[in-house]
Symmetry: C2
Subunit: 218 residues, 2 copies
């Protein structure tokens, strides 16, 4: 066994840690912010024991670290670049696997026929923020908003959307964002707000990608 092969095997071990849907879900949750095993188990629909086991796996691959805090063990991503890694994996998969396209279009099934709901790219969003023509709306649960959010974003969790319309500006276009490209919260929010007559589009990425790109957060 050459060093070369051992090196590739070690890399393969890291890739294998990414090779399970539940573990990817755990990583995506951790990209929103650190969390305890129980929190992680709840948000990913795993039993605590099972979640713990997957977290150990991710830890052996160097993707997460654990830190005891009182009774709980808090997990976190070891490296901001893991978000980039997942993003690149997603891009490659979307471009080259027909299956992915099918699933993505089904996820956003109720999409618009006119193309008016086209998502806002990162560059476009940055331009809109700089010029002050855009207001940001964070539709994630308050807990995730508080763990970190885009600058000057207003938080209205999706469930309370209709109750808190007063917080939305009427003089600017609204851009809604949530957890990432596959998160349906902002998509749903855009649908509902458009029906109410708001000028609103959705950000094509989410909070973790924004943060991993080194852009400012609050």
């Amino acid at each position: 066994m050459t060093s070369q092969q051992e090196l590739l095997d070690t890399l393969a071990q890291v890739a294998r840690a990414l090779g399970n849907g539940h573990r990817l879900a755990l990583l995506e949750r951790l990209a929103q912010g650190d969390a305890s095993v129980e929190t992680l188990a709840n948000t990913t629909d795993l039993t605590v024991g099972n979640a713990s086991q997957h977290l150990q796996h991710l830890r052996r691959a160097g993707l997460v670290t654990a830190q005891r805090s009182g009774k709980q063990v808090i997990y976190r991503l070891t490296d901001e670049r893991i978000v980039n890694l997942l993003g690149l994996l997603r891009q490659v998969a979307e471009t080259n696997l027909a299956e992915m396209e099918r699933l993505v279009s089904r996820l956003f099934a109720e999409d618009d026929a006119d193309g008016v709901l086209e998502a806002v790219s990162r560059d476009e969003l940055l331009a809109g923020l700089v010029s002050g023509e855009v207001a940001l709306l964070d539709v994630r649960p308050a807990e995730e908003y508080e763990a970190g959010h885009l600058p000057e974003a207003i938080n209205i969790p999706l469930e309370q959307l209709e109750d808190m319309l007063g917080k939305l500006p009427l003089d600017r276009e609204i851009v809604a964002y949530c957890r990432g490209p596959y998160c349906v919260l902002s998509h749903e929010a855009v649908q509902r707000l458009r029906q109410l007559g708001y000028r609103v589009r959705r950000f094509e990425e989410g909070y973790p990608e924004w943060k991993a790109a080194g852009l400012p957060i609050e």
Copy 2:
């Protein structure tokens, strides 16, 4: 099973395709240029049948495509970004797994004590090329050089290094490169040329990374 979960499972399937040392070796070879099953099997020390099986796996994950050319089947990477994906995987692994550091340092074991052999970064190399202060040396086999190489690079395969010293300029620093960060060819070349008194360092990446970054090739 929600769409969300199916999406992550599909992503996981792609990651799993990366989760095997032999398949990573195949991808690294393909990053140098397209190749037939037999060529791939030879350069990765696999039996043809086994290589074919792994290539099918990569194909199902959308990472490679196959095209018949006469008697042979030629495989190629579906996407230039796969090189970036592998690079990012490598970076994350190197930063967060102690095991990786150990293996990398062993791979380049005969390294210098003085730090004079410090590798040249991409930006540094670009600056050197623009100012004309640097000459490029490609130490890969002629076949790989011909499939594509950095602009104005001289090709001297490592085995013929001492026979073709005449092709090397004496008035500029030489930067040697080969297949990628874990390829030892350029490292070995630098060792030997330094002993002969040449002013030479090694490029910290390789041909595939250069190409994937969209930089010019010949």
